[in-house]
Structures are given as C-alpha cells and as structure tokens.
C-alpha cells in the first residue's frame, strides 16, 4: 500500500513537471486551457502533501492533543469548534475577493506564461505559507489579530505602523475596486440598471430578515438571488427601451460620484439594512459562480488564444506600463500572495478551528483554492482573442480615441482586430461599445461569458452571461466598499480618540459622520483621479494597490518569521524569510520605479515633469501634476512604513540569534483537549 502511494505521488509530481513544461515551452501554437488546470492542480497536490505537511509536522508541530481557542474559549459566538470543511469553506469565502479575478486578467497582457507560473509557484511557496503560519500563530495565541501579534512579537512600533499601513492600504484598495466597477458600468445602461436594482433588492432582504422572516437567511438569500437574476433580465429590457436607456447611460464621472455618495450613506446606514443581507447574497453568488466557472472550463476546455509571452514583456504594455519584473508580481497580487489574507487568518478563522491539524487544510489549502480561482481568471482572459483583449483593456490615451485608430494601433502590435469584430461582440454582449473598457472586469466578464455561452446557447446568451458576470463582480465589490468604509471609519475614530476622546465614540453621530466623510472623500479622491486619468487610472492605481497589498504581506511574513525564529532559532526561518526577501525585492523595486522611473508612463514624478514641461496652465493638467506627485508620496510612505517594520524586525532577529533579545514564545500554555475525535 505504501509502495503504491509512493508511486502515485511520484506520478503526480511527474505530471506536474510535464504540464508545467508543456505550458512553459509551448510556442507558436495555441494550447488547451486544461494544461494550465492540470499543471496547477498537480503542483498544488504535491505542494500541499509535502511542503504543507512538512511545515505542519516538523516546523509547527501541530498537536491534536492541545485544546484550540475554539474549544477553550467556546462562547457560542466568536469561539466555536467547527467542522473543518465548514471552516475551510468559510475561510475561502472570506479570502476570495476581486483581487485574484482582476489581477491575472490585467497581467495577461504579458501572455499567459509569466502570470500562470507566478500564481502557481507564489501560492505554494509564499501565499499559502504566509496564511498558514499566521493562522497557526493566531491559533496558538487565543485568536489574536495580526496587529496584536506584531505589537507583541516585534514591538510597539511594529504594531502602530501596521495599523497605519492597513488604513492607508484600505483607502487605495477601495478606490481601485470602485474604479473597476466604474469602468464596467460607464456607458452601459444594462449593467447600470442591474447594479442599481441590487440596492433595493438588498434593502428588501434586510427588511425581510429583520421583520418578516427573522433568521431565515438561506430562504431570504434564495429570494434575493431570484430578484437579482430578474434585474439582469430587466437590464436587457431597459437597454432596449428608448426612454429608459438614456436615464441609465451614465458617464464614468457620474458613476464614480454615485458610488462615492452610495459609499457614504451605506457606511452610515444600519448594517442589517443593506450591508449584511448583500454580504450573505454576494458570498453565496461568489461561491456559486466560482464553481460554475470551474465546471465551465472543464466542459468547454477553451484554447488559449493569447501567446505564452507577449511583446509587452518589455514594459510597454497598454494595460499598465512596466516590465514583467516587478510589475507582473505586483499585478497578480492576491492570486499568489495577499497581505489581506493575514487579517482573515488572524480574525474569525482561528476562533473556529477545533483541531490543530485542521489548520493545514484551512490555512494552506484555502490559499491554493484561491490561487486556482486566479488560474481560472487567467484562462478566461487568455481564451479571448488577443486583439479583443487589448481593444477592451487599452485606454483611449494609448490606442487612440476612435475605433478606427484603436484597431489600427492594436493590429499594428500584431494582434489583429477589426471594428466590425468589436461591434459584433458589443452587440452580442448588449453593450454600445467594448473599446477602452479598462479595469479588468469587462474583459473577465467577456471571457467568462464566452466560456458559459460555449457550454450552450452561443451568441444568443452572451449578453446575459456578460451582465451576470458584471453583476457578480459588482455585487461583492460594493460590499467591500461598504464594509471597508465602515472599518476605515472605526480605525480613524480609534486614532482620533487619542486627540479628543468623543471622536472615538462610534455612537456619537458628529464623529461617525465626520469620520465617514473623511474616509469616503479619501478613497473618492483617488477614484476621481483614476476616472480623469487619460491613461485609464488602472495604470497608476492598480500598481499602487498591488504594492500596498504585497507590502502588507511583507509585514505578515515579518511577524511569521519572528514566530518561527522564536520557536526554533534560525533553523526554519528560511520558510518565511525567503518569500519575505522576494516580496521586499519585488515591492521596493516596483515602488522605486513607480516614483523615480524616467519613463513617464511608469514614474509618477517623470509624468508630472512631462506634464509640467507642456507649460499648460489648464486646471486639468495642474490637477494631473498634483495627483502624480501625491501618488509618489503615497508610494514612498508605504515604503517608509514597511521599512520601519522590517528594520524593527531585523533588530529583533539579530538580537534573538545573538542571544541579547528575549526569545520566549508568546503562546498560550498547553491545555489538553476534552473533545473526542468525533466531536473534533
């Protein structure tokens, strides 16, 4: 039996190597997407079985005899021993956001190869390791948060800087995800109506759950799903109506302002009325659509139309500027490593785990699942005709303002596309135009719609699936905006309470309104900046978000390295230190280039200088100059904050290794479990 098992693992490892080799060395002909699926699947299995289990048994020494916080502190609310499959689903639903969907779509401009390799390798060697070690650390410390662990393991400076970093990252995150929605809805009456209709649906669900059928969450969500589905069909009718279509055809600026106003009110409304019901619905829809996409890819087995490596590896890409190193890694972000996951791994999840060994499946396994979502997004984007992909994702500032100019530029790059082809596709998708729909969401929706429509229905159902995918993306992005603004407000009020106590009270309305306004205006400012940017906004904001997210991962890996160092000395610190060094190299190079690169499309300061050299006194030019300088300052601040944490960590690590610093592990003492294996 043991022999057979060994043979099976050897075969799986060989399959992984063959599939990776096939996608890496295939040139000049289209390959089937199942090669990517198989390469990812086999690598994940081998990585989980050997690397994940090695960390679990040798490094963390997970011990099922030890009672977890869920058992010891069981209060029926936060701390509850829960079945491992349920915690896995819960954790996966919490970590899967728009990042792993949008990032790979944008990175597809380099071709499918660089992004795919990083998604697979990054998840197995860095992302899953980070999530797992932080989950373990929190589980052994009564479910403490990343900030608390940073404060206790590294020091007060680290803890405070981590708080500021998270707040700043959230502002950039909210702006960039809002921009994704804006670019998907601008000029689209079908999409705008569908998303607008989800708001009364959510309000209805809130009232239903609160007053009419309290506690019936699944029933309420099923009704909500039917209603949002009806709103997708309703959107098609609105788009075809001569009276209503103009009402719902909004400019990018109008959509942006609507989202900013929405963000302000939504964060101040009672949670039960809008946020919570939509959160339930969007989580269910998210899990359902991800499963549907996986089934669709297996059934349709689309061929990848994008080359393995495109000409834009040289850094001249139209979607965003910059070479593969470091910008592919920054752009993929959450699909391979995400700092935000560390907040979830040290949030709800460690309070639900009933047996220590379940943490491998949950911490390491869920990240591999998220990585697979990123692979599916890459497949959806790369199964589009490359000419169409670039026509959708290239801003007018790069390819030209007219359709003729755009197809000429894109065809000139070696990716043939025609005006008629784009017009037909827009017609089938129920859109006026698909040119310059930057941000990733429209091209992902188009790729998904193609896969679903190829499964049955063809072009006749393309419009439905396209807008269903847009609805799915916008639904959970709006939940992120709503919840993020609220959390940002809490954090700001917490910080301001040190200045004047009443500002910290979450029930004091002037404080609530003032702090909400500051947060909304902060991300709203970056959003408007993105909308006005002639290069499409994504070129500057997505890298800024990617850098911020990966720097947060660097903070989490610093905490993780400190934990491992205190447990074992330097023996196993390479496990988190190698990904940390890589992330620091990538993020600091990207941040440096975004600030100082002499190429105006990459460097914020170079772009500001170029605009200044025009000598124009126009208000829009002055605003662009200011915005570029502001982006440079934000980027520099991120670098500075993380450098402080890294230096603080290095000081501590040298102290521990040389024996001058306290190396005691801050774990809670061992308490034997009372749960029997069945209960656990």
């Amino acid at each position: 039996m043991l022999f057979l098992r060994r043979v099976l693992w050897i075969l799986l490892a060989c399959a992984a190597a063959i599939c990776l080799g096939a996608i890496a060395f295939s040139r000049g002909e289209h390959i089937n997407s199942l090669w990517l699926v198989a390469a990812a699947g086999c690598t994940y299995l081998v990585g989980y079985r050997f690397y994940g289990k090695f960390i679990a048994s040798r490094v963390m020494a997970l011990d099922d005899r030890r009672a977890t916080p869920a058992e010891r502190l069981d209060d029926g609310h936060d701390f509850v021993p829960t079945n491992k499959w349920i915690v896995l689903g819960h954790h996966f639903a919490a970590i899967a956001g728009p990042g792993p969907l949008v990032g790979p779509v944008l990175a597809a401009q380099f071709g499918y190869l660089p992004g795919t390799l990083w998604i697979i390798a990054g998840a197995v060697l860095a992302g899953a390791v980070q999530d797992f070690v932080i989950l373990f650390g929190s589980m052994r410390r009564d479910g403490k948060s990343l900030g608390q662990m940073a404060r206790e393991e590294i020091g007060k400076v680290g803890g405070f800087v981590a708080l500021i970093t998270v707040l700043m990252i959230m502002i950039v995150l909210l702006a960039v995800v809002a921009l994704v929605v804006v670019n998907a809805l601008a000029g689209s009456p079908w999409g705008t109506f569908t998303i607008a209709a989800t708001m009364p649906v959510a309000l209805f669900m809130g009232l239903y759950l609160r007053y009419w059928r309290p506690g019936k969450v699944l029933e309420c969500s099923a009704i909500g799903f039917v209603l949002v589905l009806a709103s997708v069909f309703g959107g098609q009718w609105v788009a075809g109506s001569a009276t209503l279509a103009p009402v719902f055809t909004l400019s990018a600026m109008a959509v942006a302002i609507a989202i900013i106003i929405y963000g302000f009110f939504a964060s101040a409304l009672p949670v039960w009325l809008l946020l919570a019901p939509r959160d339930y619905l969007s989580t269910f829809v998210k899990l359902g659509v991800i499963a549907l996409l996986a089934i669709g890819i297996f059934v349709v087995r689309p061929e990848l139309q994008m080359p393995a490596l495109s000409r834009f590896a040289d850094g001249t890409g139209p979607v965003f500027a910059g070479k593969i190193f470091p910008f592919c890694f920054i752009t993929i972000a959450c699909g391979a490593v995400s700092g935000f996951h560390a907040l979830i791994s040290s949030g709800t999840t460690p309070k639900m785990i009933s047996r220590e060994t379940d943490a491998t499946q949950i911490g390491y396994g869920a990240m591999l699942m998220e990585s697979f979502v990123a692979i599916m997004a890459m497949i959806a984007a790369c199964s589009l005709d490359p000419g169409v992909y670039f026509a959708v994702n290239s801003p007018a500032g790069i390819v030209g303002k007219t359709a003729d100019a755009a197809v000429k530029t894109i065809s000139g790059w070696g990716f043939p596309v025609t005006v008629q082809q784009m017009a037909d596709m827009a017609h089938h998708a129920g859109e006026v135009t698909l040119f310059g729909r930057t941000g990733g969401a429209p091209s992902l929706a188009l790729g998904m719609a193609h896969i679903f429509a190829s499964g049955g229905g063809g072009d006749a159902v393309l419009g439905f699936w396209y807008h269903f995918a847009i609805m799915f993306e916008a639904l959970f992005i709006l939940t992120i905006i709503d919840a993020g603004t609220r959390v940002g407000r809490f954090m700001l009020q917490d910080l301001l309470s040190h200045v004047w106590k009443p500002l910290g009270r979450t029930s004091w309305m002037p404080g609530v309104i003032g702090a909400s306004a500051v947060i909304v205006l902060s991300w709203g400012y970056f959003l408007i900046q993105g909308v006005r940017d002639p290069l499409g906004g994504i070129n500057s904001l997505w890298p800024l978000f990617g850098i911020a997210n990966q720097l947060l991962a660097a903070v989490a890996l610093s905490v993780a390295t400190t934990i491992l160092l205190k447990m074992h000395g330097p023996k196993f610190m390479w496990i988190t230190c190698v990904p940390l060094v890589w992330l620091v190299l990538v993020t600091f190079t990207a941040a440096y280039q975004k600030i100082w690169s002499p190429i105006p499309r990459i460097g914020f300061l170079a772009q500001a200088s170029q605009l200044q050299a025009t000598g124009s006194a126009a208000a829009s030019i002055r605003a662009q100059i200011f915005n570029n300088r502001l982006d440079a300052v934000v980027c520099g601040t991120f670098m500075l904050l993380v450098a402080i944490i890294l230096l603080d960590s290095l000081r501590l690590w040298f102290g521990i290794i040389s024996g001058t610093a306290d190396s005691r592990v801050a774990e809670t003492p061992f308490v034997p479990t009372q749960l029997n294996p069945e209960e656990a």
Binding site: V166, R210, T283, I344
Partner: protein, 58 residues
C-alpha cells in the same frame, strides 16, 4: 449514494454557517431560549457588530 448524501449535507451545513443560521442555533441553545423575532434581532445585532469590525478581503 451515501457519499452524495454526505456531500449535500456538508454543503448545506456550509451554507447555513456562512448564512449565520448555525451560529443562531448555537446562540439559542447556549442561552436556553427559543426562536423569536426579538431574539434574532438581538443575536444579529451582536453578530454584525463583531463581523463588520473587519474589512472584507480583496
């Protein structure tokens, strides 16, 4: 057949956990009370307050 039944049961349990229905059932058990509109409101207010202290992941 047994495997499918177990899978469906597990899947429904996951949906109920995500939808906080399991947490509500635990709340009723631990407080020794029965379901009512007021009890749900009390539970959900407390639950949402804790849940939305944290940002949604990107």
């Amino acid at each position: 057949m047994k495997l499918i039944r177990r899978f469906v049961a597990g899947f429904l349990a996951l949906l109920r956990e995500i939808g906080d229905e399991n947490a509500y059932a635990r709340h009723l058990t631990s407080h020794g009370t029965t379901h009512s509109a007021a009890e749900w409101r009390k539970f959900s207010d407390e639950r949402f307050r804790a849940k939305y202290q944290n940002a949604k992941c990107c």
